[in-house]
């Protein structure tokens, strides 16, 4: 793996660990932080693996005849399949206590995504489309100012993670609601920042729309379900 990518991965997992530890002390988590940490790492690995396979198939490269290419993560990871695989893996590990596990991972997943985006500082990939705003930044040797789009995404995601942890400390959110909110925020942030990213024909916008809709639907379902059950079931 390329070293800057490895550096960005470290920047991503540190906030996951920090938020899990921080939240475990302050909320009534169903599982201890150590288990959630193990599950989150397993989900990340599964997500990257499936996302890489999907990207290879999408590019017309056969993983059976070129298995070594699977390791070239920078060659592309399909966001949508990777997200589905990560959530499915977390759900699999958390079967029997599905919502407490997914809800417990929700804020840390947002923080991890924020770290991944902030990892652009390590990789040198923060720059977006041209901008004349005062905080626009240029790459070395260039006069073209650009949006620091990945920093925008990192700030939005870390703010959302803090608000989610604070909300879980202050109120008893119904099971599934934090998961839905986190999914909607993660997809929504990608959706609104995507036009600011340079790309070859647009990013996977429909995956982000689908993720946002699925997150909102999950949160609404969680609140409606909580409203139709005795209060003791929603703790």
């Amino acid at each position: 793996m390329e070293f800057t990518l490895l550096g960005a991965a470290f920047v991503a997992v540190i906030p996951i660990h920090f938020v899990l530890s921080w939240e475990a002390k302050r909320t009534n988590a169903a599982m201890c932080a150590r288990n959630l940490w193990d599950i989150s790492l397993g989900a990340v690995v599964a997500g990257v693996f499936v996302g890489r396979l999907a990207a290879m198939l999408g590019d017309g490269v056969n993983p059976l005849t070129h298995p070594g290419d699977i390791l070239i993560i920078r060659g592309g990871v399909a966001t949508g399949p990777a997200t589905i695989a990560a959530i499915a893996t977390a759900a699999w590990f958390g079967r029997g206590v599905l919502w407490p596990v997914l809800d417990g991972l929700a804020a840390s997943a947002l923080a991890g995504l924020a770290g991944w985006h902030a990892g652009c500082l390590v990789r040198g990939t923060c720059l977006g489309t041209p901008s004349g705003l005062p905080w626009a930044v240029s790459q070395e040797g260039s006069a073209v100012g650009r949006h620091p789009v990945e920093i925008y995404a990192a700030v939005l995601l870390i703010a959302a993670a803090v608000v989610l942890v604070w909300s879980r400390m202050k109120w008893t959110l119904p099971p599934g609601a934090p998961t839905g909110i986190a999914l909607a925020v993660a997809a929504g942030v990608r959706l609104i920042t995507e036009p600011l990213r340079p790309s070859l024909g647009g990013g996977p916008v429909w995956w982000y729309v689908a993720g946002f809709a699925a997150g909102i639907a999950t949160a609404i379902w969680a609140w409606r379900r909580a409203g139709t059950q005795p209060a003791s079931d929603t703790s």
Binding site: E2, L53, L57, D59, G60, V61, N62, P63, L64, T65, H66, G68, D69, I72, R74, G75, G76, W92, T125, L127, T129, P130, Q139, G141, S142, V144, R197, P198, S199, L200, G201
Partner: protein, 159 residues
């Protein structure tokens, strides 16, 4: 879980049956060239140019090939491929499998001296970005991702 694994295996096997590659006999031999010829080509270009240094034995080159093929379809930027430390059979096989439809002009540099003469290293893959007229703007060593490629194409178009 077993069903999921079975479905995944079936999907991969089906994927292995497909492929957009052409027969190697349809790919002509790559012309041999020199650093002087490439520099003259770059200096004469009215368009920005992306030069990709690759080899058929290079796994990361294979990984980025579909992305380069897609980028080469864009208007307003030309693509040149320089095959290094390879043989004609390997190079033509690589093009047949991954780059058959891409509008990229490929050249053969068996000793691998051209990238060094252009200011890069002897590694592969390497991608060099030139403004119109042949000004070298950026050298990217290693696998290039879509974001970086799009950003650097944007930069050389803006010059």
């Amino acid at each position: 879980m077993h069903r999921i694994i079975t479905l995944l295996a079936v999907a991969l096997i089906l994927a292995s049956c497909s492929g957009s590659s052409v027969d190697i006999s349809e790919v002509p031999e790559l012309p041999t060239t020199t650093a002087e010829d490439i520099n003259a080509l770059l200096a004469d270009s009215d368009e920005p140019v992306v030069v990709n240094v690759w080899a058929s034995w290079c796994v990361p080159c294979r990984s980025e090939a579909p992305l380069l093929a897609r980028a080469a379809e864009q208007d307003g930027v030309a693509f040149i491929g320089i095959n290094v430390r390879d043989d004609q059979g390997g190079a033509r096989g690589f093009i047949a499998e991954f780059l058959s439809d891409a509008p990229i002009d490929h050249y053969f540099d068996s000793p691998g001296d051209i990238p060094v003469a252009l200011g890069a290293t002897r590694g592969v893959p390497i991608t060099l970005f030139y403004a119109p007229g042949g000004e070298l703007v950026r050298i990217h060593s290693g696998v290039i991702d879509e974001r970086t490629l799009a950003l650097q194409i944007d930069e050389i178009k803006a010059r």
